[in-house]
Amino acid sequence: MLQYIIKRLLLLPFLLFIFSVIAFALIQAPPGDFVTSYIAELAAGGSAVEQAQIDALREQYGLDQPMTVQYVKWITRILQGDLGVSLDWKKPNAELIGERLALTLLLGLFTFIFTWAVAIPIGIYSATHQYSALDYFFTIFNYFGIATPTFMTALVVMWLAFKYFGVSVTGLFSPEYIDAPWSWAKFMDLLSHIWFPMVILGLDGTARLARVMRANLLDELKKPYMEMARAKGMSEWRLVMKYPVRLALNPLISTIGWYLPLLFSGSVIVATVLNLPTIGPLLLRALITQDMFLAGIIILIYCGLAIIGTLISDILLAWIDPRIRMEES
């Protein structure tokens, strides 16, 4: 087990290196370097830029040097904890990202818990009551959940809430808490707002997960060991929970690897529509205003979260399924 985890951990730096190269390539992709766009922006704002200042900026970021040197300079600065300054917000990137990152993670985790807490009972019910009225209802619900883009759900629910209840469900805080320092009251305020984006964001995942759970469990329920346990007089409820459900959960664990990162990065759209203070809308704005250093760091963060998600699912899977452990060692 330990050996397995160490093996996975050793892969981490390598993956991070490749992802950082990809992130760097992405921020280099737009035409012109960012100093050009910075100067253009300053000039549009009416302030003249001295040539010496331009040269200093280029020197600082190594823009007149080959790509590899630029990459090394960029990654060294990040590794040293210097995330640079956003040219668009005129604020340090670290300050911009900090709290938003925490909220992104919190929203992702809440949604994740919500998804599992709802999808698994639905999946179990649908499989054990196959072709019942509720099973059909859930099947239809699942199809719609997958077919509806999350931002559509967000827009429709937002509109309905506004039209019939006159409430605006955007944001994560009440107006009086937005700029307030963290306190217990602010945290409670957050909890009273976070459920809405959580449900919207989780619908699609809930639908998928419930479908997978139902299919997995149906396969297990047909197996001979079920007959055996019934013949021995085990109660149906205990039997289902003890054997087939546990087996059916295994394949679901492996979905954590892609689902958790998807929750973090997939919230970009919902967060934009609902105006949530997460890193998603920050990335969108950075990309539109070509604030490429900020964008690069956010993409790097998303990649890091993706790696962590995969790692968690790998470890969980090895922990739960002894076959994988044995195979590796």
């Binding site: 992405l26 931002f151 559509m152 970009v268 993409i299 993706a306």
Partner: protein, 394 residues
């Protein structure tokens, strides 16, 4: 593509319950009619099985209708999609009435606008004294079928040429453009983006997945690691960054193809895995061994025996991949990173409904979302049906 033409060429079955045996896969009856199963080619078995899934067949019909709209959007629309009318903005959808005082004859009521004295917004009410009769196959604005045949016949429209006020089945947007016609043209772009992106994915996936599964060894190793790497990337931020990097001065066509390439860059990995898995599994099959033993050449084994067997899987997998691509294009365009006006796609249309304020003013701007939902639902159910039918021996 195998199932579609087969619809017209169902084998001449002697007995109606013949396909029951075929579909059930049961060997209960060895009567003469059941023999059809043993000699039927793969695609026939797939079709017989698919036919059983009523909902999937229905979804197939819905998909066909949507594809028809995508092929000739001009025929289904009532106005040129770019036509602006600054006097007729934010008109709500006009209800179609089917039965008038003298029997069947669809019509809508004309609308009149008044300016609300306090909000200064135009408010539109139906004018029940002025019904506008609608007709089918009426003459309207000029358009070209598939860019080739110029015509001016439309499926539905105002039948009386003397009436000049246009009808808006789905209302108008902030520039007074007809939402229904725009939706029809958007169908063409959104559906074809999904299709082109999936075709690119299939090409890459079959090529690299095939190479991987066929050659094995270190090539397989490298391609598999590449797939794993691409799949562990967070797709949404990567797509956003790539689309944001497109130069602003690109033409609509350039952006269109760039988006399909960007979407298939990660999309091919699923297809690649699928193809490789099929290749590996089929290599062990008896009929492949048999073909090898009687001395078939490698290309013959691959193209005559292996490819037709997993073709149905590829078709099913790509049917399920198209809706994913459609949703991805929609959200990219919705965020303003994908297609940009003057291009019309469902995402571009939904951009008009991006914030609460515009949705509250004109809720009908959300209707293109319904088109997304219907299309994705139809393709998903169709794809599920095809996937279940793809393995007729199971």
């Amino acid at each position: 593509m195998t199932t579609q033409p087969s619809a017209k060429s169902i084998p001449p079955l002697t007995e109606r319950d013949d396909d029951q045996h075929a579909v059930g896969g049961g060997l209960s009856g060895f009567d003469a009619s059941a023999e059809a199963i043993y000699v039927a080619p793969n695609w026939k078995l797939v079709w017989w099985r698919f036919r059983k899934h009523r909902l999937a067949v229905f979804s197939g019909v819905v998909t066909l209708i949507i594809v028809t709209i995508a092929l000739v959007p001009g025929f289904f629309s009532t106005q040129p999609p770019e036509q602006i009318d600054s006097l007729r903005t934010f008109i709500p959808p006009q209800r179609i009435h089917f039965f008038g005082p003298d029997g069947f004859g669809p019509y809508v009521y004309d609308i009149t606008g008044q300016r609300n004295p306090t909000t200064l917004m135009m408010e539109w009410v139906p004018d029940e004294s002025k019904p506008i009769p609608l007709g089918f196959f009426v003459r309207g604005y000029d358009y070209e079928i598939l860019g080739l045949i110029p015509t001016n016949i439309h499926l539905i429209g105002v039948s009386d040429p003397a009436i000049i006020s246009p009808v808006h089945f789905l209302g108008t947007d902030r520039l007074g453009r007809d939402q229904w016609s725009r939706l029809m043209y958007g169908t063409q772009v959104s559906l074809s983006i999904g299709l082109v992106a999936v075709i690119l994915s299939i090409f890459l996936g079959v090529l690299l997945g095939g190479i991987s599964g066929y050659f094995g060894g270190w090539i397989d190793m490298i391609i598999q690691r590449l797939i794993e790497l691409l799949q562990s990337l967070p797709p949404i931020p990567i797509w956003m960054a790539l689309t944001a990097a497109m130069p602003r001065d690109w033409t609509v066509e350039q952006v269109y193809f760039a988006i399909t390439i960007i979407l298939s860059l990660i999309g091919w990995t699923t297809m690649g895995r699928e193809v490789r898995g099929r290749f590996l599994a089929l290599r062990e099959e008896d009929f492949v061994t048999a073909a090898e033993l009687i001395g078939c050449s490698k290309p013959r084994i691959i193209f005559r025996h292996m490819v037709p067997t997993f073709m149905s899987h590829i078709i099913a997998a790509s049917t399920l991949a198209i809706p994913v691509m459609i949703i991805n294009e929609t959200f990219l365009s919705f965020l303003g990173l994908g297609l940009r006006p003057p291009a019309i796609s469902w995402g571009v249309l939904l951009q008009e409904a991006q914030n609460l304020q515009s949705v509250a003013t004109a809720p009908w701007l959300l209707l293109p979302g319904l088109a997304v939902v219907i299309t994705v639902l139809a393709l998903n159910i169709l794809g599920d049906g095809l996937r279940d039918a793809a393995d007729p021996y199971s």
